[in-house]
Amino acid sequence: GIQVEQSPPDLILQEGANSTLRCNFSDSVNNLQWFHQNPWGQLINLFYIPSGTKQNGRLSATTVATERYSLLYISSSQTTDSGVYFCAVAADRGSTLGRLYFGRGTQLTVWP
């Protein structure tokens, strides 16, 4: 299956700071999603972004499929942004078509 690496593994910020999370993947993909897992364990969809750039409020994401990476930007962070951010990808071909492979996540802590 596809290898997915996320960095950094941990990130601690003061409220109001900006941050960039990175996701590298090992093969061509037709699905890339960013999720936020809140402290209660719920997985919340942030972006479906196999290529290009999207923005939603203070969050934006960019995927450069040809270079096999994606970035998640969080601006003016708030304490409610705390949690684990996961990147997940699905292969563009082969027997694993449609299956999501997850990175190990970035644990974000935002202090007031």
Partner: protein, 112 residues
Amino acid sequence: DAGITQSPRHKVTETGTPVTLRCHQTENHRYMYWYRQDPGHGLRLIHYSYGVKDTDKGEVSDGYSVSRSKTEDFLLTLESATSSQTSVYFCAISEGTRQDQFFGPGTRLTVL
């Protein structure tokens, strides 16, 4: 929010007992997935379904079986639970392999 429910939400059982987890959706999506989440591993695919009575194995399928007799229900069975199956189990749904997957609230299973 996608209409996905999981039951039970929490379960404690003993080694060797059978356990069945249920995922129910109201979105009429074709694809359904079972993942497990363990510390340090992110989420890993157990089994998935691409239609009624059509299922296939994921990365970590040993010790698990699934069934899908109706579009809206996807069952995960541990025939004889082991302590290594203590985990949080998530169900997900999607309309297609190139579209978002949406996750249920999770089931926390403890095998003593």
